[in-house]
Symmetry: C2
């Protein structure tokens, strides 16, 4: 379907203009200038007979033959009318360049476009786009001045300004694109649709996206997951800064900035995240040109110690593993360096290295089965020229006769710059700085590891949904947007989460009875809808050892609370067992407006927000995501028995994570869950405090 | 003194050669090609009469008149001889290009050079250098092909390969340098000497250094601190990666990688650390071209929302504060944008923005006293050209008539690139990506904040040095490289650190006596030279409440320890008060081989190595460093009363830090100190565990 849009065989320009300063003129001219067959281009303008030598039609309906793509540049108000005509004519797709819709508040007008397209069963791009540049079929249905260079990277962009600017920049940088598509307001076609299309497109090897936000988080993950199995997806997601953080209601919520969900979603779907637009393309080049490595061992070969050290620093930063060179391989390297060279990775051939040494060392590395990738660094010297070193790299690769990724950094002036372009074109992505080369190889490794990773199995848990539902809906019916601690504990229990019981005493008498029943030592804590952080108001006491203590504490808590929060309605005082101290972790959920339930795991206790040792994944979770999210935290190390500490029951925590995920999926009314602390023991675990926030649907 | 070396009036090239492929030829040719007066250049070669049209001398001693700089390119073995001749002649300085010294193991030969120079009282650069390039007096005493462009940034480099490569690269990037100096093995002249020289040099505005390591940490800090008050020092310090971490003996030691000391030293001396070589120069340009801001408020003005979002992300990352725009200023911006533009910083003029809107908006920002810096972003559009936008920026600055820093990012093709160069030359540093522009402004802010910061006062503490000395030297005389816990506690006490007493019971009887004397509850812990982590071997028990408990525990600890560590010599069992629980922090010291005592503060407890919430400074400390290092940690927030927690006595912790620093300065035999935990109370604090490691001097 999208093939008609991206690589049309016929184009109508609706709103084509005779005035060179109008976009309607520029777009038509761009279509023609890019070399699209003239007889398949149809300007539509009721007031003109002819534009740029082409016959003009008063309506798209009058055009003879099929139209694959209608490019619309008429004023916003008229767009619904011409779109209707497109439908009547049976055009296969549209690209609405016209602005003046949702971006200026005209939501209704934009919705009308979608209705029309649905009615006639065609798809449209935009509105408010720059257009489509396709170098495969030479289509420039945009107001970009000229097409980008031919290539196999697609750039999908939510920013139109970036589209135009990057046509020029990619040309200057010699970066080839298969397509550049501006998605504008994405009223109909989104980055997800295009990711799916380009995932199957034989001309495209790497998909790059500039993204500010997706509208359907779940589908983004699904499609990205499928596509990234076939080809790399690299995303520049802007909008990490916390300039606009909304109201914070829960620990998990406050820890999950809006960017957290994207970060989690990218990890779960194999999307590679680039930090800047130059790195987006630098990485895409490496991903499009290079074979995947077959293992983790990278070797750096350099003629400058300094460049080598910089690359080593970068390797640690970007997750590239530098191989410890085995003695026999060191022996081989030694042939290509002076006695004061270094065979400790980086392999330093020294400033004396000429082409022959480069060839020898690179070939030795590539031929060795234990080496999986090579980073070549060259600092321009007075004795060598970049071209001969470039040739040396290419010869070494040819001589070795193996298919392993090689990246390079050529540091120097204009000759180095030119040689870098040539080498990149020849399949050895070459960058200015060692960091850039290592970072690009790091992106390749990130992709390699994603593909190598086992595919997770969905987690299934048995739960008592009905019991939980009753508690939740009762609270909602009472008009509450949270569960009381005693209720939350019951919901957790219903979902099979081992939970500390929290029986409620409405008065001192009941408290004494409970104390006798449970036995000492005890904890007492206030139960009040208004009090979330009990410690802050003196609403909780631990280590209660006698009935006398119970009486004293009951009075004390009541006094503390009414002093600190005179407004609070006290439902009673929980009298509960003092749980055996375990390792404190936290499991939580925050419902992201775009991605849905965002599940958290991390270090628990009262300092969770201080240390922020947490990680996130989007539900539903599979076995691999749960495993990964735990391993991303520091507390995980403790659970595995750090510094002689006892091991924690990791499996039981995984089970709790799975159950929290299920609870969130079953009840869209739950906005936040905090289990903190969850005590982890050598065997089993126990939720000590459970908080659940609700919102009526 | 260095003026003769860097900007000589006469040059002898010792080892000048007639053979164009020899460095001795190239260097002479480079000197002449750069335009140095022919009659002040003296080739020295006993086997030649004339080289490159100049009269040749058999020895430097035969040259008539003074020689400011002798450039030496003879083989390593002959260098001492010719250096001796230089001394006899009275040359004012030397630059030894010749290699074959310490870098290949010839330490003795290199030492000889220093001796000779000392004997005659001149200074020399190298050996093993590329040479000196000075654009101020057009000196190219190096084997770099041609001089860099003229400018006001000096580049001092420990990597020779980088020197040559960056001459080409800076030319290509239109970056001007005052000097480029390769320091090689720095047997005599170091980066510190040169930093001092260029600190006073009127031609140099910014000092940049590529550094792998300094030899005198203390002096580096002293000089950098003085110089950075006058002009910015930007350092690319390579070698962060932990590929080679030595043996780890203490918490503080394991947390202080070799890079940690540099990081601390840079902070204490105002050195700005750049992560890559391109950023080193990008930042230096901003620092050399721009006035310092007078406040924190930055405003972004853009024609593309996407570029604005990227810049916002970068602002958070690089510590640039985006101003909340006051309503009256918003009003002013609104005149220069369509109704759907944005006055929420970034100010989005939209893709419709032409030169007039840019002028208006930038002028409005610059004229407003509440705005201290401006970031202008331009995405190339079909309707505008970079030159007119560049002119708009320059006009706005002229119209506003104020001296505020303005940086820019022009995203687009070759025209944008050219305009960026022009704007940079005109005083508006302009970069490819928004991130680069913001990062450069961030460097300027870093410098601004350093200069604004109050100058710390040295901390003075009164201590009982003699008591500490006795304990320390007794242990060393016993052949021990550590203090026993009871000894360490006494040393801490002697230094005025509030410390939990740790009386030692040699047998059960003494333990019972101590228990009665101290009162319950108690802690008992094993004292053994072999046992550092007591928890790991069951060597510590808390909450002992009766004499019966004392007896039971004594037996238990003995059994645990002899089982876990049958090799351990048990000196006895400490019977001590159970300290009232306070907030757990840690204070420590690790003696860095280069910088000396590296003082640590951070979150304490057993998970210090897990969370690594620590910060470091090099002793001696001043009031400002102590304050800063505490504020860098997360635990500091807790001490100030986070989420309703009680405040901790911060002043008492500062005092402990000062005393630990003094202890480390007084005893070079102490290699490591760990106070962990240090319990912090609302009033005062107490060192619970003190560990001290020693090494005989």
């Amino acid at each position: 379907m999208f093939i008609h849009m991206i690589r049309p065989k016929s184009i109508a320009v609706i709103g084509a203009s005779r005035h060179p300063d109008k976009i309607g003129y520029q777009v038509l001219k761009n279509v023609l200038d890019a070399g699209f067959p003239k007889d398949k281009v149809f300007p539509i303008n009721p007031k003109a007979d002819q534009i740029l030598g082409l016959k003009c039609y008063s309506s798209v309906k009058n055009v003879p033959g099929d139209i694959d793509l209608a490019v619309i540049v008429v004023p916003a108000k008229i767009v619904p009318m011409v779109l209707e005509e497109c439908g009547e004519k049976g055009v296969k797709s549209a690209a609405i360049i016209s602005a003046g819709f949702k971006e200026v508040g005209n939501v209704e007008l934009e919705r009308k476009l979608v209705e029309i397209a649905h009615k006639y069963g065609f798809r449209f791009l935009g509105p408010n786009i720059v257009g489509i540049c396709d170098t495969i079929k030479s289509v420039n249905a945009s107001f970009c001045q000229g097409l980008p260079l031919k290539g196999d990277i697609v750039f999908i962009t939510q920013s139109g300004a970036l589209a135009i600017a990057l046509v020029g920049w990619t040309k200057m940088e010699n970066i080839g694109l298969s397509d550049l598509v501006s998605i504008g307001n994405k009223a109909d076609v989104s980055e997800i649709d295009l990711m799916e299309f380009f995932g199957k497109d034989p001309y495209t090897k790497v998909i790059t996206i500039y993204l500010e936000g997706t509208d359907d988080g779940r589908r983004f993950i699904e499609v990205a997951r499928k596509v990234s199995r076939k080809k790399p997806v690299v995303v520049l997601k802007a909008g990490k800064a916390k300039r606009t953080v909304g109201a914070i209601k829960s620990h998990t919520g406050s820890l999950a900035g809006s960017d957290t969900a994207y970060e989690a979603a990218f990890k779960q779907s194999g999307v590679i995240r680039a930090p800047t637009f130059p790195s987006l393309f630098e990485w895409a080049i490496a991903l499009s040109k290079l074979p995947l490595p077959k293992g983790e061992n990278a070797v750096i070969i350099t003629n400058g110690g300094g460049a080598g050290v910089m690359a080593t620093d970068a390797a640690e930063q970007y997750g590239v593993h530098l191989m410890d060179i085995p003695e026999d391989l060191k022996e081989k390297f030694r042939k290509f360096m002076p006695p004061f060279g270094s065979t400790y990775n980086p392999i330093d051939l020294t400033g004396m290295a000429g082409a022959e040494w480069y060839i020898g060392a690179i070939e030795a590395a590539l031929k060795d089965d234990r080496v999986h990738s090579v980073i070549v660094l060259y600092c321009h010297t007075a004795q060598t020229n970049p071209r001969e070193i470039g040739d040396a790299i290419l010869s070494a690769i040819k001589n070795a006769g193996v298919n392993k990724p090689v990246v390079a950094s050529f540091i120097g002036g204009i000759e180095c710059d030119e040689e870098s372009d040539r080498l990149t074109a020849m399949g050895v992505p070459t960058y200015v700085s060692p960091e850039q080369a290592v970072a690009a190889l790091g992106a390749l490794y990130q992709y390699y590891r994603y593909l190598k990773k086992p595919i997770g199995k969905p987690v299934k848990v048995e739960v008592d949904r009905d019991s939980a539902a009753k508690i939740i809906y009762d609270a909602l019916n009472e008009g509450r947007e949270f569960l009381l601690p005693s209720e939350a504990a019951k919901v957790a229990e219903a979902y099979g989460i081992p939970t500390l019981s929290k029986p409620l005493a409405k008065n001192l008498e009941e408290a004494e009875e409970l104390a006798v029943k449970i036995g000492f030592p005890l904890v007492m804590e206030v139960e009040s809808p208004q009090i979330i952080h009990k410690t802050d108001v003196g609403g909780i006491k631990v280590g209660i050892n006698s009935l006398e203590d119970v009486r004293k504490t009951f009075k004390e808590i009541m006094e503390n609370v009414s002093k600190a929060r005179p407004d609070a309605e006290i439902k009673g005082i929980i009298v509960r067992k003092m749980a055996v101290q375990g390792r404190e972790v936290a499991v939580g959920m925050h419902r992201d407006p775009i991605f849905g339930p965002l599940i958290m795991f991390g270090s628990g206790g009262i300092y969770i927000e201080l240390y922020k040792d947490v990680s996130f994944r989007v539900a539903p979770l599979d076995t691999v995501s749960i495993d990964e999210m735990m391993k991303e935290t520091k507390i995980y190390k403790l659970l595995t028995g750090f510094r002689g500490e006892k091991r924690g029951d990791i499996q039981s925590v995984k089970d709790v994570i799975a159950r929290v995920s299920q609870l969130a999926l079953d009840f869209p009314e739950i906005t936040d869950i905090d289990i903190n602390p969850l005590f982890v023991y050598e065997k089993g675990c126990m939720a000590i405090d459970v908080k659940i926030l609700l919102k009526r649907k």
